[in-house]
Amino acid sequence: MEASQGGKAQEIVVARGKVLDLLRPDDSGKIQTILSVEVFGAIRSLAQFRLTGSQKDYIVVGSDSGRIVILEYNKEKNVFDKIHQETFGKSGCRRIVPGQYLAIDPKGRAAMIGACEKQKLVYVLNRDTAARLTISSPLEAHKSHTVVYSITGVDCGFDNPIFAAIELDYLEADQDSTGQAATEAQKHLTFYELDLGLNHVSRKWSEQVDNGANMLVTVPGGGDGPSGVLVCAENFVIYKNQGHPDVRAVIPRRADLPAERGVLIVSAAVHKQKSMFFFLLQTEYGDIFKVTLDHDNDRIKELKIKYFDTIPVAASLCVLKSGFLFAASEFGNHALYQFRAIGDEPDVESSSLTLMETEEGYQPVFFQPRKLKNLVRIDQIESLMPIMDMKVVNLFEEETPQIFTLCGRGPRSSLRILRPGLAISEMAVSQLPGVPSAVWTVKKNVNDEFDAYIVVSFANATLVLSIGETVEEVSDSGFLDTTPSLAVSLIGDDSLMQVHPSGIRHIREDGRINEWRTPGKRTIVKVGSNRLQVVIALSGGELIYFEVDMTGQLMEVEKHEMSGDVACLDIAPVPEGRQRSRFLAVGSYDNTIRILSLDPDDCMQILSLQSVSSPPESLLFLEVQASIGGEDGADHPASLFLNAGLQNGVLFRTVVDMVTGQLSDARSRFLGLRAPKLFSVIVRGRRAMLCLSSRPWLGYIHQGHFLLTPLSYETLEFAASFSSDQCAEGVVSVAGDALRVFTIERLGETFNETVIPLRYTPRKFVLQPKRKLLVIIESDQGAFTAEEREAAKKECFEDAGMGENGNVEQMENGGDDEDRDDPLSDEQYGYPKAESDKWVSCIRILDPRTAVTTSLLELQDNEAAFSICTVNFHDKEYGTLLAVGTAKGLQFWPEKFQGRLLAGIGPVLRLYDLGKRRLLRKCENKLFPNTITSIQTYRDRIYVGDIQESFHYCKYRRDENQLYIFADDCVPRWLTASYQIDFDTMAGADKFGNIYFVRLPQDVSDEIEEDPTGGKIKWEQGKLNGAPNKVEEILQFHVGDVVTCLQKASLIPGGGECIIYGTVMGSLGALLAFTSRDDVDFFSHLEMHMRQEHPPLCGRDHMAYRSAYFPVKDVIDGDLCEQFPTLPLDLQQKIADELDRTPGEIMKKLEEVRNKII
């Protein structure tokens, strides 16, 4: 992850492997994701620059495309615009193709893009007469046989731009067999000067630098500082500049750090104000140091490194002008911190003046991490990185299955339970005297900010609650409380309306009450209203239409007899600046929805008619107002949607033509087992739709798209939006006999998560199906056991004269309570480092419902658990047992198999049975090429995954007690995940980010099954070491991220099964099988057109990216197809024409496929 900042409002651009995100911290310090674009390429470096005098930053991206790309954020359209794209080399992450490093001249005049070795190119940036950014052809600054560690721009004001690089020449070391040259190999700091006059780059200056150097940081220059660079090296920070002696200071080290470990700076940020500047450097252990330079003009007198704070290790740090620090974590949640201080108070400090050189080298300075003093965390972005294992199961017996993921690393590890849908936070729950049927909120005046009353209707009464400091029952509101209500709303500017079965009660602002009674014995059954219009439906099917006249009086305007009872009705909201809305929608029990006109000249004329699959239960017009440069920055034309909840649980949605009332572009989606009831609510200042089926759903516009997402909440009966002093945008709802007030959080998220902290990096987990427990194995390299850590901690607190607190149990629940008194939460500070050959591990049994660990076994003696399975031995004596593969130097993968235990131990596959005191070895096969990493079984077949050589299909012959390999793969695959799809098919993922399926050809499979020897004879003949049969690759796709787990599952009830995968970068993806040839044709054509018309943002060819290691085969890229709605309208139309469809149809198709997955 990399971050860069720009713009007046200061936004942050973040690269997440293959995704480019734009984040904006709002005034309250919450981070909003404004834009997220998949670029179909690996983003390797990111930098921002600003032309002098300009107000806006450009972004330069170094990727694997062999191109330099300059982007600009277009606020109006909310997209990144590609300004320049210059090709300089081959694509791919190669050794000598630039893209790995980027450096910018601080004055924005030139950019250098470098490779790991040899090549560096300089581009001159300028502007033309129309103030557009121009880019020159590249100037070479190559040096052969040279490895580059870091490059940066040197701030030298408006003199010729200079770039600094840490270089290491390996030519001599490669030639010298004595090793003399290699030991003498020396890193150099080299300055490259771009002569703007001559348009030429030259090596200006090169000087030896500490051999541990790994990173450069620009020191402000020109008028703002002394110029030069900070060279971050292992254990040191050194100031260097041309013609200036080195100024060196040691980086303070943690007291508990083993002596052989160095301290490396991994990320840096600079804070610059008019009068001062300082650097924040973060070490690989998470400690941040504030580095200040005491200088007199260009002379550095002192370099000071002072302990600042400790936060989880960041890939990139970014100081915002508004006083925030954004830390993009290497693993786990990213965080936004606010500065409370800038480290002016005394603390452990090392200085270049007090640097002591002894015989063993420089004298180290020690410090002890402490609580955050200068920073305070105010927001986080959740990240699942890395997903170590995943299972999709419905353990909680909810409507949809939950995704259990093992995430994170070391002390920040967690089990996260993901549920599709938005998270809500409950504000209040209060019990009511009966079971309510409906609830409304109502304002007293149209200009009021907050609601005045909550009105609750029961079977035979109405309860009115007034909203103030507290919510209290009132009786002076004017509402009739002896009857149930059908609707309550504000009418006109300042009067209230209550519709009850026998009439309409109109309460004027001065307390006068007008009552309209239904004729005869007929009762009102349905009501639809907006602020100026009311339509009621009487039993029998008569509609009566009222309008509010100029005096605020409710006047009957028109009557209309429908053919039968009305099932539901709704009036569109009054458009801004108009007297009335034109449309009334009426749903009937004959499975139709009619749009009626309310205009005076054609009042109650039927404008259009739509038949639906089931009687409609609820109708809602949702108006999307035209917005220009809204919160997400994009323009949206106004549109009107009619939504209908049908009795079969389907939500039906069509577009209403604003002029004619014609319905078009119908879409339907199954929401749940109950007929959806639709309510209008306000979310982020816009109208959104709440659909209450067997679970609640929210339909809202996010980043220009309409999203329909479930809420993670219980079944609700009725809801209304709620706004009060304490809760600006809430929802009040009734369910059972309770009134619930809640707010909806973090719009745009697909999943909401429940986090259960773990102790070490989780490796695998299994489900104990009977008792619904999870068994998790966790292990970490180079860490101390809990007892050792506890002892060390105690010692350290005693030394510091602090009271000892926190025992093992408390540490365990580290993440539960952030304000806990423990001054050293491991989650924040990390575990102390031990020697790299020390392992710690534990086996945990966890009840996911209560999040309680029922049993935890910490392994002793440097033993680590790596694999786990449950096993029932066939004598059934012990019931279900747990087999855990641990390592003291060996790899071990167990799998149950026909009442026995199969284990892969290095290259050997062994079958064990349970003996009296130990496992008995029954038979084995030693012919696997490297190390077995996965075993799956089905009947007598065993599917073995090798770490490097893909799958091997084996057979076990019971009568001969033999295991033999009958088929294998001909492609080397470094397996990271595997899953058995069916009898002949395996899905796998390799280390380089590919997913693939292999299948045993049908005839071979049949032959093996029919052959009485099971293909054994062929196997015994043995040719060229390989198995006699080969599996065929049927699918191949480059995901661009290391896939760590695969599972076949269905995320929605009744939905088709898809392959869900989780990756190291913390993303979850799904592969869905097409069921019809038509769909395949359609999407492959769409993909083809998208590739042509909409090439990826960072310049990588889409087809080449998806075929980065093996040619893509029979997989269509949904991520690319889903970018279709973001295209400009003319391009959408063009593609749609080619496909013989309308853009709407394409989007509907895309939505359909997405709805099949989640």
Binding site: G17, A42, R44, D64, C93, R94, R95, I96, G99, Q100, A115, C116, E117, K118, S144, V147, Y149, L168, Y170, A173, D174, Q175, D176, S177, T178, G179, A182, A185, N214, L264, I265, V266, S267, E284, Y285, V313, A315, E330, F331, M385, P386, M388, R409, G410, T761, D780, Q781, G782, A783, S836, T976, K991, F992, G993, G1040, D1041, V1042, T1063, V1064, M1065
Partner: protein, 87 residues
């Protein structure tokens, strides 16, 4: 160079070898070949962030440290070179 030389396979190869570090040639020895493979691999690991993260988890180090280690290994990826026979 004569115009015809440009299409000569040898000169084309020489051009490639000069331009692209790591391009093989007929006299490449085992050690040089392995060194090139290793350097290419390390450069690829450093370039692909997810792979770097994968290694970092395996070794329980920070990603920054892992990147530095890989870069350091580019100096002598296969140990010391063998003695030259002609020397």
């Amino acid at each position: 160079m004569q115009a015809s030389d440009r299409f000569n396979i040898n000169s084309q190869l020489e051009h490639l070898q000069a331009k692209y570090v790591g391009t093989g040639h007929a006299d490449l020895n085992r050690f040089e070949w392995a060194v090139n493979i290793q350097r290419d691999s390390y450069a690829s690991y450093v370039g692909h962030y997810p792979i770097l993260a994968y290694f970092a988890i395996a070794e329980n180090e920070s990603i920054g440290r892992e990147r530095y280690t890989f870069m350091q290994k580019m100096l002598l990826p296969c140990g010391l070179p063998p003695e030259r026979e002609d020397d």
